[in-house]
Amino acid sequence: MIRQALWPRLQRRLTQYLDPVLLAGVGALLLIGLTVLYSASDGSWARVQSQLVNIAAALVVMWMVANVPLHYLMRIAVPLYVTGMVLLIGVALFGEISHGARRWLNLGFATIQPSELMKIAVPLMMAWYFEKHEATLTLKNYFVATLLLLAPVALIMRQPDLGTAILIFASGFFVLFLAGLSWRVLAALATLAVGSAPFLWNMLHDYQKHRILMLLDPTQDALGKGYHTIQGMIAVGSGGALGKGYFNGTQTHLDFLPERATDFIFAVYSEEFGFLGNLLLLGLYLFIVGRGFVITANASTAFTRLMAGSITLTFFTYTFVNMGMVSGILPVVGVPLPLVSYGGTSMVTLMLGIGMLMSIHTHKTLVQT
């Protein structure tokens, strides 16, 4: 009798804090990702196997996070943020340079990229801060929260790592926005941003200006900086309504697409599955984001609301920035397509977010009691 009861109990123990709806969406996306990756790596199993390992690790992380009630996470918000900042400063001072950017820190036993940690630490810290001052929010609190956001973002921009900086800024901005930063301040900031654009332009590095100009007219430098954009657009456009068919993408299989397993994997998908496939993919992302919004709306505390909202919107930001850059409406910045692009770090970070969403959803009742 005990033996009989063991399996259902184990099953319950394993799944009770998971959200089947979110899991279904994520699972579908992961399957699509593996399928596309197999084509993007010209039928090499090695890549797919390595990605399976990444996914397995990320699922474990997701499961663990889902099992942790979110208010426990509040306790680590400050230490995590402080550690992250220390590491970021460490990178700025002693970081290793690779591909012209200083992003990695060698700790002796491992080489880490602290900016990745900040993707979680920043919104966590800000949500914690707002939760703490929930009852007595004043403009000063927003100001402090903004500083908490801008400090790491500035450090990461300096590395430079524009893609990560944008994502972290977005995640923090979503917290600010959802926490109720007044429209007047938002409008003032927007005006300030537009007004200072010419000055900011002059402060940009030449290569950054070049990137922005290239976005306006990629053909200007078809073999240089514009090459990625042009080849991406050609891949997407030549895919047509129904796509060229699985494994039939010429842009993909004849090496014209750069970084086709990672940042440009959407171009591979788009070339082989066409507009219809794109609609399906957008639908899937909308499904996950929609579920995220449902969880956000039902979250019980300020902290969980802000966290859930920020995670959901940031997830969407990944999607939009990646698809936007591949299809040529945004500059090329290093942002992966969530849960599809090859790579372990972003996979773990994103699944950690998904785990948090699940935890927020499944631990809700416990918190209220």
Binding site: F177, L178, G180, A235, F256, F275, N278, G309, S327
Partner: protein, 637 residues
Amino acid sequence: MKRRVEFRNSQREIHQFRLRLAVGIGFVLVLLFTLTTRFFYLQVLKHSHFQTMAENNRISVVPTVPNRGLILDRNGVQLARNYSGYTLEITPSKVPDLNATLEEISRLVDVQPKDRKRFKKQLEESRNFESLVIRSQLSDEEVARFAAQSYRFPGVEIKARLFREYPLEEVTSHLIGYIGRINEADMARLNENDEVAANYRGSDHIGKVGLEQSYESELHGVSGIEQVEVDAGGRGVRTLSHVPPVAGDDLVLSIDAQLQQIADQAFGAYRGALVAIDPNNGEVLAFVSRPGYDPNLFIDGIDEDSWEELNNSPDVPLNNRALRGQYPPGSTIKPFMALAGLFYKKRTPADTISDPGYFTLSGSTHRYRDWKKEGHGVVDMFKSIVVSCDTYYYRLAVDLGIDNIHGFLSQFGFGSKTGVDLQGEQPGLLPSSEWKTKRYKQKWFAGDTVSVGIGQGYNLVTPMQLAYATAILANGGAGYRPHLVRALRHNGVEKPVAPELDVNVNIDPGHLDLVRRAMVAVTQPGGTAVVASLGAEYAIAGKTGTAQVIGIKQGEKYDADKLNERHRDHAWFIAFAPADKPKIALAVLVENGGHGGSVAAPIARSVFDYYLLGKTPKTVAAAAPPEEPGDAGEEHD
């Protein structure tokens, strides 16, 4: 109370939060719509545009070079052929450090200083991104050695391709010419016509001179097109479609290679030219210009040393004397003058003059000297040709007048290009009063006419031209335009070139017979070219001539021994045989050969003997350089 406030507060907060969330959701929907619109634009509206771009990315159109046509002699002997071999080629734009690479390569493959110089010259003249030959004709061993190390040399590769080769080297150099790398001037010319330019997209070489040039379009063939799927690195992945090239036509020449070689050797160390024509159809049987050069040197760019040597040689080996050398015809013009005299009825065959050894114009004391100081005595027309009496023709020329001479002689092609199928032919010069007015803004004087009668003065002919005139004479006035190509051959099917009747000079058979008989007597004892027909089994009709290189002052004697070798007269001999039914007519020029009878005539004899009897000369007649070019006056004309 406090609880209620907090509760309300939190209610208000939740409300505000949900509002913000709604804005966020709205924002997400707007961005999703933006993406959808963008995808629709790219994938549906602009699909064909991007489809084309993707195809352009992927498909590379590679021209396949047709095999160049062969050049064969009338018996099928190859005069220009192709062989496949390996070259080591460098694309300079892909090589980071050219000098270092060259150093490295020379350790694997034998690279001579000559090769380096040639490469440097190519580098200066080349188009961008072109691959240039550093070494050709690699041995199998060299190919293997380089292939094993090739990964070390990006931008350097071994290519197997067809090479052009001229097996007879200098013997046919002025006839066949050569192909060379397409240079900027060639490019500009090709680009004038889009279709032509497209046909040469894959070609590296083009005919530069000789038949290789004049029959370029036939020899080249039509390029094929291969559509190759390429990857981003430009490497071919697979062939999508292939339109095979059409090989160029083979040229079948009327030249007899054996005859050509015999004629060439017959010159020995002399410079000069020989053109032999079949008078019955205009087919050129031998076309020699000496010295020649090795045309193989030019194919992949000549190295500087060889070029300097060829270009600065006092022998001017690059000059095609047969086609472009213009010389006074000297006494070879006399048979034609005689016919003119008969035609205009200024002379009958029986009319005689008494030759004192000179001629003076009435009212002048200037003496136009005969080559024989003491004169030839009583001379009629027959004798005038046999002994080559100058005085006879001085007087005849004056009696005819320059414009009659011009009118009659121009029928034999004097003063105009023969139209042979080679480019760059010179027209020679047949003077007329009109010409002098135009050229010198001067009246024609009677004194100008005198020396024209013996082929001096303003007269100029090319060996090609004189050979043609001789052929017309040999054929009784019917002149077939000289041509070197007798048929074009494609896939083994020959398309013959029809003989083209160019002129038909009206010559009275009696007049013709007289002149022919006289010309036969020239090669008999008592004539000026006895050596030509010594022991011959057929009759040779000929005429000697001398082209003066430097003028001799009045009262001075021409003494060959005292003159610098290069200032000696050029020797001419024109002839046809067999005299009664000519099968071959020729003109021989020997530069600084002295007089035609002793040096030029034996060359003609070797050619006749081979062509008519199949006899190969044991020793070549004029093999030695001239020790004594003028052995007395007997044969001097």
